[in-house]
């Protein structure tokens, strides 16, 4: 096991280097940098622009910039965000936890709802419930997140005024303790609902497919033949085995807890990392974008390794080599 983990970690080094080169090149080869973006106006002389470029380290040749950037990355220094005028790490730290809060809530509801719908659809395959659930799931799954977000915002915040239109706390309020928690929760309802509804479809299909696969197996027939209660058959014998492949899915979802949701956070003005990075793209603040992308890439690679390891632990038929 330890050998497997070490080997996978070593294998991921070239992947990481490749990803860093691609990400760096995408931004570096684009015409127009932070300086032209932020300071270009008729009064600005070319000399002053060059000075500013030197200040931000944008005047050196590409390979040199890559090597110095990658070296800093390895030491955990992501440089300074041009937009916030402070270290990228502290900017990410400021916003990522707001995204994490949303992410955890979404994950909780997504798995709860998907498991209920998926299992029930599988037990009652071809029932009216199954048919309606399938229809609704497909519709939700086919909605672009920004459209669903806008729709919920329009109906529940603008028209019905049940929930605030955006942000994380009521502007100008000084709630503390319980009142603060309730205030944040109220602001969370719509973004969480949007992203949960979007993602619940795919997951509940997985639950359904896996359950259907397991229910057909001989050991389920045996369990029923033994005269066990249907409840025991479904939840103890079938569900446990159906959950096995979902461990992988669950683990691969972990990076998304930290990645934030660019579009939804923007629509609801949620101060998360997704919204900030989207803004960083618009103003060409690439230290922030590069730092964020590399962080998510590393998390994705680690989650992949973790998924394989966990699957190997959970399923004794799988031998990790």
């Amino acid at each position: 096991m330890a050998q497997f983990i070490v080997r996978r970690l070593l294998q991921s080094i070239p992947t990481l280097i490749g990803a860093s080169i691609i990400i760096f090149l995408i931004f570096a080869l684009a015409p127009g940098d932070y300086v032209t973006r932020q300071f270009e106006n008729p009064k600005m002389t070319p000399e002053r622009m060059e000075q500013l470029r030197a200040l931000y380290g944008l005047d050196k040749p590409l390979p040199e910039r890559y090597v110095s950037w990658a070296g800093n990355m390895l030491r955990g220094e992501m440089g300074d965000s041009l937009m916030f005028k402070k270290p990228v790490i502290s900017v990410i730290n400021d916003f990522i936890w707001n995204s994490f809060l949303l992410g955890v809530a979404i994950m909780f509801f997504e798995w709860l709802i998907a498991s209920i719908i998926g299992i029930y659809s599988a037990i009652r395959q071809y029932s009216v419930f199954d048919a309606i659930a399938t229809l609704i799931i497909f519709m939700l799954y086919s909605l672009p997140s920004f459209f669903l977000g806008l729709l919920l915002l329009k109906i529940f915040a603008v028209d019905l005024r049940w929930f605030p239109v955006g942000g994380m706390i009521t502007t100008g309020s000084n709630y503390t303790g319980w009142a603060h928690i309730m205030d944040v929760a109220k602001h969370m309802v719509l973004p969480v609902a949007t992203l949960t509804l979007i993602s619940v479809g795919g997951l509940s299909r997985y639950f359904r497919t896996n359950m259907l696969e397991v229910i057909k197996q001989d050991y389920i027939r045996t369990a029923r033949a033994k005269g066990l209660k249907e409840r025991t058959v479904i939840f103890k014998h079938a569900l446990r085995n159906a959950l096995l492949p979902l461990i992988t899915l669950f683990t691969l979802e972990i990076p998304s807890l930290f990645a934030g949701a660019m579009i939804t956070e923007r629509i609801y003005n949620w101060p998360g990392i997704g919204k900030v990075v989207l803004q960083a793209i618009y103003v060409r603040d690439y230290p922030l974008f590069l730092g964020y992308t590399m962080l998510i890439t590393v998390l994705t690679i680690l989650a992949n390794i973790l998924a394989d390891v966990l699957y190997g632990i959970a399923d004794p038929r799988v031998r990790l080599k």
Binding site: Y141, S142, F147, T300
Partner: protein, 306 residues
């Protein structure tokens, strides 16, 4: 009452049993799937709506500021936009662009994915290592941020609006081939081990013949399913990019760009006819394609009952 003659009965039975090829079985399973038929109906409607619809519109797609921002009426069923253009007509014209981009982007991703996946699976060795490494790299990078950055770069390069749709197709295709390549590779790896491939070896067939005549037909069902679902996700990606103002830009209409009207607080709150119809159009199209793709997957699954 006449008793059916034995010959007729025999024929009937034979008819029922006929159609043993994978494709005939698949077709039979497909047309029996209610969701597939629903999907086909909706998709046909959307295609006719976008490509034939504009010819039936009494309006011209020209700005007329005197008629700006009218709510839905008898004359303008879905109202008019801020330049006084008929929203229903815009919706149809935008559909042409969004559907075309969705399909073209998918063809590009299939071309890249199937080619690289086949090479990787068939030849193995260092080619396989390199291709799969590149796939790993692209897979590990967050897709949406990269897509948005590429959109932003298009704006920096000052690509003329008329050319942007081609760039959008290519970007979507280049970003999303990995899944198909992995799928095709794993299929070919398992097909290679089967006896009919050994037979082609014994017969001394050329590589090109082995791949095109014997491997490809077996991979085709997978590719068709992946392609269908790929069109759905390409349409969503394009609309997201255009919604952010980084995909298809005016004067070319697209559903995503029409939705970006909602970025304006007044249009968003007071003029829902500007942004709800394109959203519904995207949803209907994508849901129809997903129904068809899902039904195709089931239809091609040999374990399913006929």
């Amino acid at each position: 009452m006449e008793r059916p003659t034995p010959t007729l009965d025999y024929r009937k039975k034979n008819k029922k049993r006929g159609g043993t090829s994978l494709w005939q079985d698949a077709f039979r399973r497909f047309i029996r799937n209610k969701y597939a038929i629903l999907g086909l109906v909706i998709l046909t409607f959307m295609v006719l709506f976008a490509f034939i619809g504009p010819y039936f519109s009494p309006h011209q797609d020209v700005p007329d500021v005197t008629k700006a921002n009218q709510p839905p009426s008898n004359e303008h069923w879905l109202g008019t936009d801020n330049l006084g253009r008929d929203v229903l007509l815009r919706l149809m014209l935008a559909g042409r662009i969004s559907l075309t981009i969705g399909i073209a982007a998918t063809l590009i991703l299939l071309l890249i994915g199937v080619t690289l996946g086949s090479i990787s699976g068939y030849y193995g060795g260092w080619l396989d290592v390199i291709i799969m490494r590149i796939a790993d790299i692209i897979y590990a990078m967050p897709g949406l941020p990269i897509l948005i950055v590429m959109g932003a770069i298009m704006s920096d390069l000052k690509i003329p609006p008329a050319h942007r749709i081609y760039y959008v197709m290519f970007i979507l295709g280049i970003i999303s081939w990995v899944g198909v390549a992995r799928l095709v590779r794993s299929q070919i790896l398992s097909l290679k081990e089967q006896e009919f491939m050994l037979a082609t070896e014994v017969l001394g067939l050329k590589d090109s013949k082995k791949i095109i005549k014997h491997l490809f037909p077996n991979v085709l069902p997978t590719v068709i399913v992946a392609g269908t679902l790929g069109v759905a996700s390409s349409i969503i990606s394009e609309s997201t990019l255009s919604f952010l103002g980084l995909g298809v830009v005016p004067p070319t209409p697209s559903w995503g760009y029409m939705l970006s009207a909602a970025n304006n607080m007044i249009d968003f709150a007071k003029r829902p006819w500007l942004w709800i119809p394109p959203g519904v159009a995207i949803m209907l199209t994508v849901v129809a394609i997903n129904f068809i793709g899902d039904a195709l997957r089931d239809a091609f699954d040999p374990r399913q009952k006929i």
